[in-house]
């Protein structure tokens, strides 16, 4: 038998009898499982999730669910494929042993795998003071249960809601509060909302939009402490400028934390920004060597991207979960040269204050911005971000139909400022500084982060392996 015939036989055998374990039962985990079955994988498939629910969609939680239009338990994701999987829900993975190829569950059980997909995603960063975070009325939002609790608190008619952090989630929640006619204060340590993701120029427009809708927006201000009443319910916040805010509902929207703790000691390149992997979803070990058995997808993955100087990108985006999962699944059951890359142009949307904000590319990679279409005053425009004479991202406010035009320019590394489509041109088309905060400035962390070139980036804890005795 030739080597290639032997390998083909191995792949056939793996597809028929292999054992694949997916850790993470949300969007990426579900889509990976479906893609595996779609690829003809007929072996055993185990899906482990720490939440008790079948995979559900998270974006509606901070929008139509919070508004009370859609019930939190109505967010279950559609299924496109028969899975025949062993679902282990409500049970967190707590350890990974790559030597024996086993995932350890919270109940002590060991689940063996031949190939493993890590899709454990992120969780909401909690208010850092545990005693204050435990006050009744202090919320964060990531899960279905979080959304349900906060929705009920909003329905109870709070006198004022305080939103800490003006990233996308915080801004969307503030928007819902205004829709429900609830007074809301938003504090942001940076100079404007959305500044980490879209820069100060767009942030200023977002700030005006919030204020026009009656949000009490306070920028360059942090919350120093939260105070409760005798019954343990939050009543006020003390701000870094010495003022106080009376509020009986507080949302900490402080960005997310990647769920990598369970990988401690596994020898994978897992750290603050997630699990380093190649563009095909194959995990790196701490030495930067790709593994053959461990794959990563979704919010917890960080992979080098050809369009962004091969910097590792960490993307907390819906389509990153979908396409990253499909690529990882394909590569789990195929061999070189059949591997596929996950080279998604990042994209996201956010509905807030009646405006649809969409973006493609990586805005913080740019240092300049130019308005190319529409009107800032009417909050209906397109703008492009550039770096060193090439376009790297674009953002639209109620101009989503034009986004594809910019996406194609970005994919071709077209010149910046880009040629505007010959329609709806603004009066001024001059590039200006995009005003992104310096790295390290405390503000809302953007959903797409350029995390450098190191597969085991600096903020990851380096744990040398035990020397063989």
């Amino acid at each position: 038998m030739t080597l290639s015939a032997t390998l083909a036989e191995l792949v056939r055998d793996f597809k028929a009898n292999g054992r694949i374990v997916i850790v993470g039962a949300s969007l990426a985990g579900l889509r990976a499982a479906e893609a595996l079955r779609g690829e003809g994988f007929a072996g055993s498939l185990t899906i482990i999730g720490d939440e008790p629910y079948e995979p559900y969609d998270r974006p509606p939680l901070s929008k139509q669910v919070l508004k009370g239009w859609v019930q939190a338990d109505h967010t279950q994701l559609p299924r496109f494929q028969e899975l025949d999987a062993d679902w282990r829900l409500g049970l967190a993975a707590v350890g990974l042993d790559r030597a024996t190829r086993q995932v350890r569950l919270a109940n002590g059980e060991q689940v063996p795998y031949d190939r493993l997909l890590i899709a454990t995603g992120t969780r909401a960063r909690q208010w850092p003071n545990p005693a204050e975070a435990a006050l009744e009325g202090v919320y964060s939002i990531r899960s279905r249960d979080d959304a349900e609790r906060l929705q009920q608190a909003l329905m109870a008619g709070p006198s004022r809601v305080l939103v800490i952090g003006a990233g996308f989630i915080g801004s969307e929640v503030a928007s819902v509060c205004r829709d429900l006619d609830i007074p809301v204060t938003v504090t942001e340590r940076g100079p404007a909302p959305l500044i980490g993701a879209l820069g100060g120029v767009i942030g200023e427009i977002a700030a005006e939009m919030q204020r026009d809708h009656g949000v009490d927006l306070r920028c360059r201000v942090g919350v120093s402490s939260l105070e409760g009443d005798a019954g343990g319910h939050v009543r006020r916040a003390r701000l870094s400028d010495g003022t106080t805010i009376e509020a009986d509902v507080v949302l900490a929207s402080l960005g997310s934390v990647r769920n990598v703790e369970w990988l401690e000691g596994s020898g994978l390149a897992a750290g603050f920004w997630g699990v380093g992997c190649d563009a095909g979803g194959r995990a790196f070990d701490i030495n930067g060597v790709t593994t053959d058995t461990v794959y990563v997808a979704g919010d917890v993955a960080r992979a080098p991207h050809v369009l962004y100087e091969y910097q590792f990108l960490a993307m907390e985006h819906w389509d990153n979960a979908v396409f990253g999962a499909e690529v990882a699944a394909h590569n789990m059951v195929n061999l070189e040269p059949g591997y596929r890359p996950h080279l998604l142009l990042p994209g996201f949307w956010s509905g807030q204050f009646g405006v649809n904000i969409k973006s493609v590319g990586v805005p913080p990679f740019g240092d300049e911005i130019v308005f190319t279409q529409g009107s800032i005053k009417e909050r209906r425009f397109a703008a492009a971000y550039g770096r060193r004479g090439r376009i790297v991202a674009a953002v639209t406010f109620d101009h989503g139909k034009w986004l594809q035009y910019y996406a194609e320019l970005i994919e071709r590394s077209a010149p910046f400022p880009p040629p505007p489509p010959g329609w709806d041109r603004p009066d001024v088309m001059k590039p200006i500084p995009a005003e992104f905060p310096e790295p390290g400035v405390p503000t809302a962390i953007p959903d797409v982060v350029l995390t450098g070139h190191d597969p085991n980036e600096r903020r990851a804890e380096f744990r040398p392996r035990d020397r063989p005795s």
């Binding site: 139509q64 239009w69 859609v70 967010t75 994701l77 028969e82 949307w349």
Partner: protein, 71 residues
């Protein structure tokens, strides 16, 4: 039934809103929100809305289709 709309793909043409306003809504001119788990009685309406979407952004649970076919 279960649906999901790829809102990266959605461009706010609002054909779905015209065809199934109980399920799909616009917030402002372009931001779409929707009921992800509509009542099964609305299946035909939702299927028509999905078919009418100019960018084909509405995805419907295929398992539900299979169940319906078997019934």
């Amino acid at each position: 039934m279960h649906i999901v709309v790829d809102l990266n793909r959605c461009q706010g043409y609002a054909q779905c809103v015209f065809l199934a306003h109980q399920i799909f809504r616009l917030s402002g001119d372009e931001a779409l929100t929707y009921e992800p788990n509509p009542d099964d009685a609305r299946r035909l309406q939702v299927q028509r809305a999905a078919a009418a979407c100019p960018v084909q952004a509405i995805m419907i649970d295929r398992q539900d289709d299979a169940e319906r076919g078997a019934a």
